[in-house]
Amino acid sequence: MINSELRELYQQVILDHNKSPRNFRKIEDANKSAEGYNPLCGDRINIYLIVENNLIKDISFQGSGCAISKASASLMSSIVKGKTVHEAEELFNKFHNLITGKLDDNFDLDELGKLAVFAGVREFPVRVKCASLAWHTMMSAVNEDENKNVTTE
């Protein structure tokens, strides 16, 4: 009943994370945080982290947004927890290439683990910002940018 391109975008994993997002809370003693905003659609996200010795010990998020942005934040938080900041950054680069359709043909999707479910986004250029908002916001928080208000516009 639903179109295959759409099914590819809204995979079950994404719908599941949208419905029951993981790490959807505020870390009270977070030592890094940032707010991300997509003025185009009004998506807003707050990312909280505990980073010690370059290791992401805990991460959480709050905010409102579409299924793609919420699922992306949820999956990101599950995956980067326990990784180093450097590893998270590398993952973000690969993820960004995935959703913008810039991955090499011989790239092993397994490297991205569950993030591979976002491959369908590449067919929807207007939704790339939805998928990347959480990541941009996290990178801003860990890098402690001067201006912590991230906007994807």
Binding site: N3, G42, G65, A67
Partner: protein
């Protein structure tokens, strides 16, 4: 002066015949027939409008005014003829009161800059409403910052209405202008602008009406309203983009300084001083969008031939049908429940984000707008980040509303 009302034939409205006039409605989107419900963003163009633009560029394209050759004279006639059509369409007194702009946004910016520069001083007040489009907020903020003036906002009720008494309370001896929207683009509310104008005039305060979402849905008569300024865009009334109108009372426009400087808006220029051209040319610096004006004139002819009363009745039926159909969809909440509404239906649906709804509906061929609709203060008022908005035009059908309703039910299945 006697105002002639156009003769309207009492024929039944044939939507299928109208649809044939709009070539884009034959297009397929993702393999489905286009179901275009984003008319508050822009309307589609009838073949007559498209043809008039093609004809203009193919046969008479030339620069207007001051030309002595045949094409220039013909193009000038076509441009000025379009101005007369606009004048008649809104029942202005004279062509001098019709300024061509790029759109409603530029029209409002013109008044904010030109009227504002001459009339606003430290501590003066500008009144707008809580349901303004950003284009009727930001131009006033810019001039207010420059002149240290203050913006006062008429509050909106839970239903999405503004109260004339609440408005009157905001008026003070410092109020210099009132600028309100006729029909809200995000709520569909038709505001009581006639009462607002009457109230403001008791205190001798001029009123600008943003009629961008009004002129295509209901007959607008500037002399009956007695508004001082009125702004609208061509592309929302079945005309081309890049052309719009500012209506202003002659005595007000006359006293206002030019908004932009350049060719066409002057009568004499020396390096020491220039004297400005007469109305309306004083406000039309540079070469105007001539083809756009011609296309707009054709669009107004097209509408007048059908009759705005008849269009309005059809759209009212669509709105009532859509309101009933969507109200029956479980979990759907309509935002904006004013008693007087135009062809706009905004809603939130369960916890499904409008962006997701928009993408799903797109695959049903349905074009709706999702987001804040350039009215972020309205979204804040209702504590929602965004809505999905279906907006109707003369060529929409009840069948298309069924497609929308069924599409929403399918989405609910996926997200349940």
């Amino acid at each position: 002066m006697k105002v002639e009302t156009p003769h309207i034939e009492k024929v039944s409205f044939d939507v299928e015949k109208i649809r044939k006039d709009f070539p884009i409605l034959k297009e397929l989107v993702h393999g489905k027939p286009l179901c275009y419900l984003d008319n508050a963003a822009t309307t589609q163009k009838p073949q007559a409008v498209i043809d008039s633009i093609v004809k203009y560029y193919s046969t008479i394209n030339s620069n207007i005014h001051r030309g002595v050759h045949y094409l220039s004279v013909t193009a000038t006639d076509a441009f000025e003829n379009a101005r007369t059509k606009v004048k008649n369409f809104i029942n202005a007194s004279s062509e001098k009161e019709i300024v061509f702009t790029r759109g409603a946004t530029e029209s409002i910016n013109l008044v904010a800059n030109s009227f504002g520069r001459n009339n606003l001083n430290n501590g003066d007040e500008i009144i707008i409403s809580g349901m303004e489009h950003h284009s009727n907020i930001v131009p006033w903020q810019l001039i207010a910052a420059e002149k240290k003036a203050v913006i006062k906002v008429i509050p909106i009720t839970d239903e999405g209405e503004i109260n004339v008494e609440e408005f009157e309370k905001l008026i003070s001896e410092k109020t210099k202008i009132v600028s309100v929207v006729y029909v809200s683009n995000s709520l569909g509310t038709v505001n009581p602008v006639k009462q607002i104008i009457e109230t403001a005039h008791k205190y001798n305060i001029p009123v600008l009406i943003d009629a961008a979402q009004a002129v295509n849905h209901l007959p607008v008569n500037v002399r009956e309203l007695d508004c001082d300024f009125l702004a609208f865009s061509g592309h929302k009334i079945y005309g081309p983009t890049g052309i719009g109108v500012l209506y202003g009372k002659e005595n007000l426009l006359d006293r206002m300084p030019p908004f932009m400087g350049g060719g066409d808006m002057i009568s004499k220029v020396t390096f020491e001083k220039s004297t400005y051209n007469e109305l309306p040319f004083k406000f039309e610096a540079g070469t105007s969008n001539i083809a756009g004006a011609v296309g707009l004139g054709t669009a107004l002819d097209y509408i007048s031939n059908i009759g705005l009363e008849i269009i309005s009745k059809h759209e009212r039926e669509l709105l009532d049908y859509a309101t009933k159909s969507l109200s029956r969809v479980e979990g759907l909440k309509i935002i904006g429940n004013a008693t007087e509404k135009s062809a706009v239906l905004s809603f939130v649906f369960d916890n499904i984000h409008p962006h997701d709804i928009g993408t799903f509906l797109d695959f049903e061929g349905v074009a709706v707008r999702t987001g804040h609709h350039c009215t972020q203060p309205v979204m804040d008022r209702y504590n929602i980040p965004a809505t999905t908005r279906a907006s109707f035009a003369m060529y929409n059908t009840k069948y298309e509303i069924d497609i929308l309703t069924n599409g929403l039910k399918k989405i609910a299945e996926v997200f349940k």
